[in-house]
Assembly symmetry: D2
Homo-oligomer: 320 residues x 4
């Protein structure tokens, strides 16, 4: 698209891609419904090496939320981990007759490797399936809370190493990944999509930031990522969820005119009902797939079922 996306374009896209009602008026999990029991059975058959690869960054003070950003963080900080008791506590035994350590975390649920739940982004006054966006009150998401996904996030994982397919270590900031590039990557890797897949796309940006030793620019800054047109590809593939190694999956600067921030999010989450994974760590998976040429695996990435949460940290596992 050569011109900037307008509010009218957004309305048109909302009309075109709307999945509301597809899984009934009570549905709260959207495209996670695409994965059926037989897909899970098939996914398990992909476990051939017995190798488990975590796609999580560790959660700590070195995370991306510590970076300076022009984008307002609005409360997002790196996790704060504190000990309630340590190994030094009270000499040999504490007064309860045991030596033990406990700890606590204070963490924004969007601070690291995470699922964006369906209560995270709204389209105008609506959330997924047409629920009123005011259902996300200060008491939490009364609809589409992340806890509704507690039996989900299991299926066939497909890895698309777009950076590698394009012969780059890292896609450039502002590189808008197209449908054609996604299809080309799949073709190059010899893989076909199936309904209900969990698709994980690598831009290389996180590795570049890690290599540079600074997250500056990562949260809310310019980034490679999905172009608006990939809504078509998402619709066509009937994927369960989509994840990437960037802060926000979609390309930045956005392709939209002023006043429209993250246009792809406006459609994917509330209109299509797509759960989205962000800040996935893909270095080891990329190396493993490049080495064995196998880009599919069993994918298990359970959310922590925090009642009413609009997202969740996760430790996504690729099991090959």
């Amino acid at each position: 698209m050569n011109r900037k996306i307008t509010r009218q374009d957004m309305a048109d896209a909302a009309e075109k891609y709307k999945n509301w009602g597809k899984w009934g008026p009570q549905d709260e999990i959207g495209t996670l419904n695409f994965t059926q029991a037989e897909d899970i059975v098939a996914a398990a058959q992909l476990v051939r090496k017995g190798k488990v690869i975590s796609l999580a960054l560790n959660f700590d003070n070195n995370g991306p939320q510590g970076a300076k950003s022009k984008y307002p963080s609005m409360g997002r900080i790196n996790p704060v981990h504190t000990m309630l008791r340590t190994g030094a506590y009270s000499g040999v035994l504490d007064h309860r007759g045991i030596r033990a350590a406990d700890d606590m975390v204070v963490m924004p649920l969007q601070c690291g490797t995470q699922w964006d739940g369906l209560g995270h982004v709204f389209y105008e006054n609506y959330m997924w399936n047409g629920y009123d966006c005011r259902e996300v009150t200060s008491a939490g998401a009364q609809k589409c809370g992340i806890e509704k996904t507690k039996n989900k996030m299991v299926g066939r994982g497909v890895f698309l190493d777009v950076a590698r397919a394009l012969g780059k270590e890292c896609l450039d900031d502002g590189h808008a990944i197209t449908c054609a590039e996604l299809d080309m990557t799949a073709a190059k890797q010899g893989i076909k999509f199936k309904r209900g897949d969990y698709i994980i796309v690598r831009t290389g940006q996180m590795e570049a930031k890690l290599k540079a030793g600074s997250w500056d620019g990562y949260p809310g800054g310019d980034a490679p990522g999905f172009s608006f047109e990939t809504l078509d590809w998402i619709k066509r593939t009937e994927l369960a969820a989509l994840a990437s190694d960037t802060w926000g999956c979609e390309v930045r600067p956005n392709e939209s005119e002023a006043g429209i921030n993250q246009p792809w999010h406006w459609i994917t989450i509330p209109i299509m009902g797509m759960t989205m994974g962000e800040i996935f760590y893909l270095k080891e998976l990329a190396e493993d797939c490049a080495a064995d040429g196998v880009y599919e695996f069993m994918f298990v990435a359970p959310a922590i079922p925090i009642t009413g949460a609009v997202g969740s940290p996760t430790n996504p596992l690729a099991i090959k």
Copy 2:
């Protein structure tokens, strides 16, 4: 054992069950090492129905830490989930050009369905593998942090419904589960243990509390659970990790003399290097296994890799 366990008994048990060095002097994950690649491949073959059963309680203010208890909570509270932004935030679009909600959680890592990592309990001055317990500083666990397990917690799950095998809805408080009862349950269920299994044991206590509508007595109170003698069974089965539906896995009141609290923990975690799952929600798994007679499954329960944490909330999945 008819007499109370003494400090000398503890020292003897520490000597007898010690796994220090078994996986080298640098090891930080203990019995999780028992699960090998081939075990993971085999576990995946157990996925036959494509059914995913979450073993997590939701994390919220209705959790067990809100109960009154004579046992000092020492900082353990129910999770506090707060919204950083809601669906009502700032009219139609916020000043960033998007309508979105974010949230935050404050949670002790031992507040709900959880893994006790190897930094959680000490034996005298030592943690697992002989590390100095002072390695768990106020900056977190410098050794055996839960993030070291990020590629683990995948394997064959075996469910032992001891309550059902003994013909009870819920074992009585103070019921000390014996090695014989565990073996009898396995036999009755027609299942055999394999090295590297993740074994999950049901007492029924959590369901009784949920039915009663009150957690009173659950955290730190009397409970059914593993007897001290099951250390033998743990050693023999070479399990990867063990979990249960109670607050603390082992029987309470403890079998030990005054001044020794949670004697089984003293040995399992720091001496044997066994990661332990607590407050697992087993109702649905129990019903499913009773219905299909299949007590084995693929088990995936990744910890959230919070650097230096001595435990982690988890959403454990039984995949059948």
Copy 3:
């Protein structure tokens, strides 16, 4: 009032006691304006013994929010204090060349001795001075944030020991303090009110709970406290702020019909613009005033200026 207060009574009271606009349309601090510079100078003259009496409960896990209550706590917990570093940290010197301890607190701002700011309670769709109640967004109070009071909370303190004046250790739960009782107490103590006073009223309830060793029933339970009619007395005295030793200042059970909770709050905070102190610890002040017969003093109780907060913990000082 013999019959229950109705919604119409609320509307009538709102009309009668409304101070909106009294200090201009931009005002955000209400009755704190009553205290003038000369009142502060005069208050300082009351310092004759050089004695400082704190009216704060310590903030810790023994606070009132740990009590069971039928009243939904809605997120209020006791403060959680955790150490970021301790005296045991890292041997002799930490890597920065200093031995030091830091700490952190997680605290609901309404969890202990506190000021209720003017953003805390709404009347229908309005907050103090007619501001839209939606000005209190998830980003905090855009109007009437507690930080607006940072140069206030200094003036003449007047202590009314109503329990003592009525010859009781503690007023009964449900005892509705009347205007006549407040005037009688002042007369008995030989004290007259002046515009801009900070008036502190003792019921004895907190001391009774402390003596009993349990806070059960304190947060949200039955309590002695201000009757609805005291709105008249508040208006007449032109006080700056009012505080008491109970959880919520006003009598409970409330004098209102079903569906109207804390009717006195509905008027005092949003309609009159009165900042309110709750959970004040008055034992030492009561003893001192009884001993020297002096019930007035300099009162200094600064709020912590947390931007956009609807309240603040405070350590109120009576300086005699």
Copy 4:
């Protein structure tokens, strides 16, 4: 001092300035003891205009802990303020029959305008008065907790505008304030010190940072501040507490050799027992004192008595 301060110099200073035992072996508040009842009475006489000036920065996400710093923050973050309920919550009345907003804060106690309590810094294995530094456990400061000061922090305030006295808007980073400069400032301002004073010293650094619109360099960076030799002046003046407008009061880079960080802190807090105020906002006080030529006032700056805390946020008031 022209050469770098060594460990031997530290030992000598510790010997020379040690106040341990001066107020008995049980003392936990150190130099706060210097202020006597008559000093408080006299301080109140300084209230002549009825003007209250807050010396606190607001506590929010714009605070100094958000700045990048080479100095490890070790868990210090800006306060995170979140709403538990907002003005938009649940339509007109919530289910409890009231419309109200509540909130919560997560804050390191050293994150803004603050008191460093006597448990904050250690000298070798000791804290103030010779207590073992391990008294500051993960359960908090068992000795010298900030709650021990709850009836203190009231006295005569003396303001030393060193920047102004030296004809500068802001002292240069690395400017080590000498005893002579402090005395000269007092002389120029026509003020004499008295035992038990609360002395507040302005370098202008905070105002420079606020003017620049960036805190970069403020936390842990280079700064003007007290030279090591001012220990002499502290001893001589017998002040109650000392505060400044910088992050850490003392000059940075420090005057010490490598491995000794914040040498002045090593002596002031644990050896002399001096409570210290940091990150005080002095712009308005400076302007007022310059205008009326009065550099003394009543000072009231109560700590929030968080049990076992090693410091506290505060809203310090200068009352003139």
